[in-house]
Symmetry: C2
Subunit: 698 residues, 2 copies
């Protein structure tokens, strides 16, 4: 990938001398920063802006590693043939008219990819704005030079955006408003070849890049992306577009329906330790705060403890509300901190958190107040982060924050500022604070959101594991796998699916298959009442809706009546299952789904047959271990139900973990299995038992 970022020689195919065109901007942008040889290519001109222009890339002299292609789409394959023949290593196709415009364009794009593959060349784009290296001032993009020349603002964040126009517009906005300094910015467009996974890999090793921020709509190599991200040593922030789009697959199982388009990806990003954003500026707010490389302290088994330093009781209260909503808590200040703050405030002012510093400010002025107040909070071991409120206005429009904050000492905990104020004071104050390494926000909600974001990942490596070597399967599992190969595609009903679960050593409700009332009565007598009667039809998996499940059968009379009723259905079941009715405290759902981009993933959720209502579910890429299952549980909103809620027995964690570990292993071993749905997984005196299940073979 280095030839894209630091090419030895760049050919611009489609360069022109006509101002206000992409082909002109491409060339002038290169001349304004790139320090290697530049070769315009266009048969119509002998030279452009003083550079020798070549009729074709074949005639460009050495060295030349990169081609930037900006000719109409139909001409691109021919150009690529020539690039490959010339030994060019990479081509950035900035023209549009490919997969984004429909099937014809997609065919054209596929032709380009084929040519590149044959010629051993990497393709970037098409339909993109290329890349910019802000430090080097390399601009390999048709963006006009007006847009970037005065605003390139170097920093440590590298940006990857799957979008053409937005990339340029957004970057212009960020840099002209001095919101963010960037290392490199990449627009990857249709990502026919080079994709976010390639760039992630490159930026993880790039010295200029301290934080990686991405906007992406899909992860064509999702598994690889997550494995790389999990091994990261740099923070990665992702904004995923298209969360709400309904998945293309018709969802046969609950697990697949719950996977939707985003839940699975969210789980994988969590597992990989990737920070997640919901909007463009939020992506940037998180990235620029992560760039400060704050010393993060995560209190064990506790919410992060935040101190709020404010001039306004009301703003303190609203900040506390937003902290609580985001899962943070107000720090209990140590007695030493209280003493230091009490010295600062007039005697009538009680010291609390939020710390109201206004009375101290009136007494001592801003310099002493900030120095003493912030130093006290920074040095309190019970404070994990600080939110400071600042007003730039009235008599102190141009607060010299550099001077004011100079004496603050203590560990480099995250300190975020909420700033409002008169327009004249606001901007210089913001810039001074940002320069000092204190991220500034204009809304309390955002300040709290970013603080929570900083604590959302523990800065450790993620836990996405490559598939483990499958342990040798039991004879029965071998047998089932062989049968599955012969039958695929197929939907396995409860009886068949439970055989698989039993083969994995997982407990399922016992059953007796019968065909007449006498058989049912005998089975019930053996199990003991109450019992459940289910009608079995080949391939039928949604039995409840079809009237094929009857519960709460307490007596032989009731069983007989229910049997006859079910046998009299328009389409009589092929056979009947009698099962004891277990008395559970809680219904869960566990499952497995094989995703085309992320491979096998497992699911844990609350609500069992009603899981779709609150969608309180967590996905993880398989395989998982016991620790991962613990993390999954910690993400459930209703996790209190698993911990011994109101006299219930707590769920046995080892037994529950076993389910997710085994389902994940099975997915790795038996490729024929597309989905597994165990729903409900009933918790009986703390122990999970499958009461219904289905498996889909692909």
């Amino acid at each position: 990938m280095k030839f894209f970022f630091e090419p030895r020689g760049v050919a611009v195919i489609g360069a022109t001398p006509k101002p206000n065109t992409g082909g002109f901007s491409l060339l002038t942008n290169l001349t304004l920063g790139y320090d290697g040889p530049i070769y315009p290519v266009n048969p119509r001109y002998p030279e452009i802006i003083g550079l020798t222009c070549y009729p074709s890339v074949s005639e460009v002299p050495d060295p030349v590693e990169l081609a930037i292609v900006f000719v109409p789409a139909p001409g691109v394959p021919q150009v690529l043939e020539e690039c490959a023949a010339r030994g060019i290593k990479g081509a950035i196709i900035e023209s549009g008219g490919f997969a984004e415009v429909g099937p014809e364009g997609r065919a054209l794009q596929d032709r380009c990819l084929e040519i590149a593959r044959r010629g051993g060349m990497r393709l970037w784009g098409p339909n993109c704005m290329g890349l910019i290296d802000i430090r080097k001032r390399y601009v390999f993009s048709f963006i006009t030079s007006d847009a970037w020349q005065d605003i390139l603002n170097p920093g440590g964040v590298s940006l990857i955006v799957q979008s053409g126009l937005l990339a340029g517009g957004f970057m212009t906005t960020l840099m002209s408003h001095k919101t963010l300094g960037l290392a490199k910015a990449c627009s990857i467009g249709n990502k026919g070849d080079v994709d976010e996974t390639d760039l992630l890999e490159y930026f993880l090793e790039d010295d200029a890049t301290r934080v990686i921020a991405l906007y992406v709509e899909s992860f064509p190599r999702g598994r690889r992306f997550m494995e790389l991200a999990a091994r990261r040593k740099k923070p990665i922030v992702v904004l995923k577009g298209g969360k709400s789009a309904s998945g293309a697959r018709a969802a046969a199982s609950h697990t697949a329906s719950l996977a939707g388009n985003y839940e699975l990806i969210r789980g994988a990003l969590d597992q990989a330790g990737v920070y997640q954003a919901d909007d463009f500026f939020e992506l940037i707010d998180l990235a620029r705060s992560l760039e400060q490389n704050f010393e993060m302290h995560h209190p064990p088994d506790e919410k992060p403890r935040i101190a709020v330093f404010t001039y306004s009781g009301a703003a303190g209260i609203v900040t506390a509300d937003h902290l609580a909503e985001r899962g943070l808590t107000l720090a209990d200040l140590s007695s030493e901190t209280r003493q230091r703050l009490e010295k600062l405030s007039p005697p009538w002012m009680p010291v609390n958190n939020p710390v109201d510093f206004w009375p101290a400010m009136e007494k001592h002025g801003p310099e002493i107040t900030y120095r003493e107040g912030l130093s006290a909070l920074l040095n309190d071991p019970g404070v994990d982060g600080i939110i400071v409120h600042l007003f730039a206005g009235f008599g102190v429009w141009f607060l010299d924050m550099k001077k004011i904050l100079a004496g603050v000492t203590g560990p480099k905990k995250p300190v975020l500022f909420w700033l409002i104020g008169h327009e004249q004071g606001f901007h210089p104050t913001r810039l001074a604070l940002e320069e000092l390494g204190f991220p500034v926000f204009t809304e309390i909600s955002r300040t709290a959101r970013v603080m929570a974001g900083l604590f959302s990942e523990k800065g450790l490596a993620g836990t996405v594991q490559p598939a483990a070597d499958p342990v040798p399967p039991s004879a029965i599992l071998k047998d089932l796998s062989r049968q599955a190969e012969d039958r695929r595609p197929a939907t396995l009903d409860e009886t068949e699916s439970k055989k698989w679960l039993q083969a994995l050593g997982l407990p399922v409700v016992p059953e007796k298959e019968v065909t007449d009332p006498e058989g049912a009565l005998a089975a019930a007598a053996a199990f003991g009442y109450p019992v459940v009667l289910k009608g079995r039809k080949p391939g039928q998996i949604h039995k409840t809706e079809a009237g094929l499940v009857k519960v709460h059968i307490y007596t032989p009379e009731q069983l007989k009546a229910v049997f006859l009723e079910m046998a009299g259905l328009n389409s009589r079941p092929a056979s009947f299952l009698v099962q004891p009715q277990l008395q559970g405290d809680l219904e869960l759902i566990v499952g497995m789904v094989r995703d085309p981009q992320f491979g096998p993933a497992v699911l844990l959720g609350l609500g069992g047959t009603r899981a779709e209502v609150y969608r309180d579910v967590v996905f993880r890429l398989a395989p998982v271990d016991r620790e991962e299952v613990k993390r999954m549980i910690s993400k459930l909103k209703g996790r209190a139900l698993l911990e011994g809620f109101r006299g219930m027995a707590p769920v046995d964690l080892d037994l529950l973990a076993e389910w997710l570990i085994r389902l994940g292993e099975l997915a790795g071993r038996v490729e024929a299995i597309q989905e597994i749905d165990v729903n409900p997984l009933l918790i009986v005196k703390g122990e999970p038992v499958a009461v219904d299940a289905s498996i889909i073979l692909r």
Copy 2:
């Protein structure tokens, strides 16, 4: 209240000629705008800035209706005595040092209130920044004139803020950044006397006020506030501070614990038709959008349908994500709209929603693209609102939006802009759009949030009802009420509480009270198995945790064993209840709580005994009717469970409504009842039955 806003004569008590003091600013602020007589009061000066200064307010000539008091707290009572004697109608106390600093200050404040009450005078504050009438340029506040002189920007929003410093700082920010024009801004501080309810009442009748925006932390006269708000003809937006504070009461019942500090208020605000915000700028964003008085069309039984007009596919996708998260949906464009848009775009560009207008822009330029595109969307009857993306940058930094939007025709549906761009183009474009009546936001999330906010209330009157005249109670209810009077305070257990419910005609699970195993067996035989056995102890309401509830008893043997076990508990129950075990599909919770500020309120929630886990509950001020109960259900996240989920019988709405109607009526009739908890309310074949209940008499 008019004498606060348009006083005939103002005395400034504590005026001084010393610059940079509050007493000086108060006076100069008056001279810069107020057009009535101004009387500085201070025994130390004969005149201040050319105005005759009086030694005491007693000596001030006529007319004088308002006093602004800015003397140290201990001197305030004496000053108020003089004001009352002088016949002053209202006093704004801007000094601090009262209830906000502790018990001594509170006592001082109470003395002031007593003096004012005796003297027939209204008090505003203390500990506040007074009020500003932006149109009239009346500034009755110690804010420095630097802070407001160049920025007063008249508009239709009146602001009420329960905070001193923030009010001034926030207003300065809003007006200097030209975020908002204001009608009146009020800082009500400790609101010893004049509170948000007084000001709401005043602004509802104030011609200059089109929208009322409030930041408040408490509603001391909550019931009255909601009744006024519900009758409103102007939009009201509230930001409630202190949502997360844990209620002061120890929560005995589930209903009280679920009421917490905010859930009840949120329900009351919903019921009153008040718009709700979560942050300061969000409050303002909603208020300024409501000020535009858009024509709102609410599709019946559907989500509001939004069109997105964008230059970027990615921004369109992220907007769709945020719309979906906020309960809005993308509009299906009519065939006429599609045809109009197809004419605008090049042939290869498919017309979808989000509408990507970039190709049209390249072809026709911005003027035609905006005029045609927006007009088409505005005139589509299937479009309820439009979000427009705009980039101010590159060749078109100074887009003349006034010219560009001049030709747009159609109904005045809500049109909100998401604007980013180069700093130089951004600000003028924003101001031009705002002037045209199009609210502008810099974040997609906020744009979607405000659009959802505009649709969150239907613009109709709210449904808070004054307590109905109680219908004559039945003999049994009279009897129960009499007993309750004698016993209060007390906690009524299940058996006693269910008597009340039965007296209201509400179905409860039958029970038989027994004292020995034989009695239990006879009762079970009469009910039929399975049964439930409960141990009864006087005043005990949390039975499950105490081991006093046993379910799933299928046989006489099991019953006998369970009975003996429960009878052998360390503290043996006084008696035992045998009940049939009902087979329910769903557990709900309903309840009533009497709030000190809002009066009686009813609760409906999902989850029954587990309601605290997801807190999916809705409160309403009592009394409620059937329509209100329908609205409550529509606010439940898990409402699908009530509508016939996966083969379940749908819940009978009339029967469920009866519960909330009757509990609300009972609260109005029997003052002795503090809380009622019906939990679980079991749904059996669609019909609600109380399976446990408790009542707390106060």
